[in-house]
């Protein structure tokens, strides 16, 4: 029971701190999961992080993997509900608030034009921050740059690119 309460508290708090996307709370999550609660080791956390990035669906489902490792299926459930429940309610309220603002079309248009460049900048920022991460080696830099170019200039399915990434890394590991 104590572990479930800890999971609920941790992920409800982290979720409320995640303004501007989930990637920003990863260091704090790692500290709590590895150093404070000892639910898993550092390398294990890094691996489930990579898994949460590669698997389809929201990367923030990493919360569920932490819960699963800490307290089995009930832990996974509690972590997911704490991570997504309150924030989903807020997103719903934000959508209602935004729709009600439809009265002033000019006002909405201007907010839209002002937010678009910030959103574009934040998207680029997420990529840049991940590339600058210490675990991003030379091959990773090269492949990330290649993927960015190919996916910008062609209509290639991103899933194909992800599989190519796995193949390239495995080949590089074999040659080393």
């Amino acid at each position: 029971m104590l572990v479930l309460a800890q999971l609920a508290g941790l992920f409800a708090l982290l979720s409320m701190l995640a303004i501007g996307g989930g990637a920003g709370i990863i260091p704090e999550m790692q500290r709590a999961v590895v150093d404070v609660h000892h639910w898993m080791t550092g390398p294990q956390f890094l691996a489930i992080f990579a898994l949460s990035r590669a698997a389809p669906g929201p990367g923030s489902l990493i919360a569920m993997l932490v819960g699963q490792q800490a307290a089995g299926l009930p832990g996974a459930l509690v972590a997911a509900v704490a991570m997504f429940g309150p924030s989903s309610l807020l997103a719903y309220l934000a959508a209602r608030f935004w729709l009600r603002g439809a009265a002033g079309e000019g006002w909405r248009g201007r907010v839209q034009r002002a937010l678009a460049p910030v959103a574009v900048g934040l998207t680029l920022a997420a990529g840049i921050a991940l590339m600058r991460g210490t675990e991003h080696g030379l091959i990773a830099w090269g492949f990330s740059a290649l993927a960015a170019a190919v996916l910008t200039l062609t209509e290639l399915n991103p899933g194909v690119m992800a599989l190519a990434g796995a193949a390239v890394f495995l080949a590089a590991a074999l040659l080393r």
Binding site: W98, V118, I128, L130, A148, P158
Partner: protein, 181 residues
């Protein structure tokens, strides 16, 4: 905005997002399914929803599903989108997590970790490409480009505190864009 989608159609669209978004970059998949393929919203509406959802606490992509579902079909639409997005990944994450911890420390586990790193590198590139594509279509004037570049630099390169960055950049962008037509 074209015809409102039915709730099952909304569920299926986000089911596709949740199933096929291998390698991350979920926002791009949502844009692909909801705006590009089905035309339920246009790019400008997508970008606004995306930016607003960054401001709402929580996982941006999940917020985006709830937000767009609510925008298209009210509260039930938000629930349908959320359910669609989560159906496949929840089961898959639990299965993959179980498998990973079972393999951990074995040679097979090492191979899996390397493959995951390669997929991660691709996901990083995809993130950059989403930004470039969205920027190419929606940020054309010099003011917008400057704001986007400044945002990318401060948050991505300098990694200044995100809440602080947004508290500075959004009013700044609003002020710059308020008088422009």
């Amino acid at each position: 905005m074209s015809a409102r989608p039915s709730l099952p159609a909304l569920y299926r669209a986000f089911l596709a997002v949740g199933t096929f978004s291998v390698g991350g970059g979920l926002a791009a998949w949502i844009r692909r399914e909801i705006a590009t393929k089905r035309g339920w919203i246009d790019d400008s509406q997508f970008l606004t929803a995306y930016a607003l959802c960054q401001l709402v606490p929580g996982a941006t992509n999940v917020n985006l599903a709830v937000f767009l579902g609510t925008e298209l079909r009210g509260g039930p639409g938000g629930l349908a989108a959320l359910a669609g997005l989560m159906t496949v990944p929840v089961g898959l994450f639990l299965a993959l997590g179980t498998l990973y911890f079972a393999l951990d420390g074995s040679p097979a586990g090492r191979i899996v970790a390397i493959a995951l790193a390669g997929m991660g590198a691709s996901a990083v590139g995809m993130m950059i490409s989403i930004g470039l594509r969205l920027g190419r279509r929606n940020v054309r004037h010099a003011t917008g480009i400057a704001v986007a570049a400044l945002t990318a630099f401060l948050v991505g390169w300098e990694r200044i505190n995100l809440i602080l960055a947004l508290a500075l950049l959004i009013p700044f962008s609003l002020a710059l864009h308020w008088r422009a037509k």
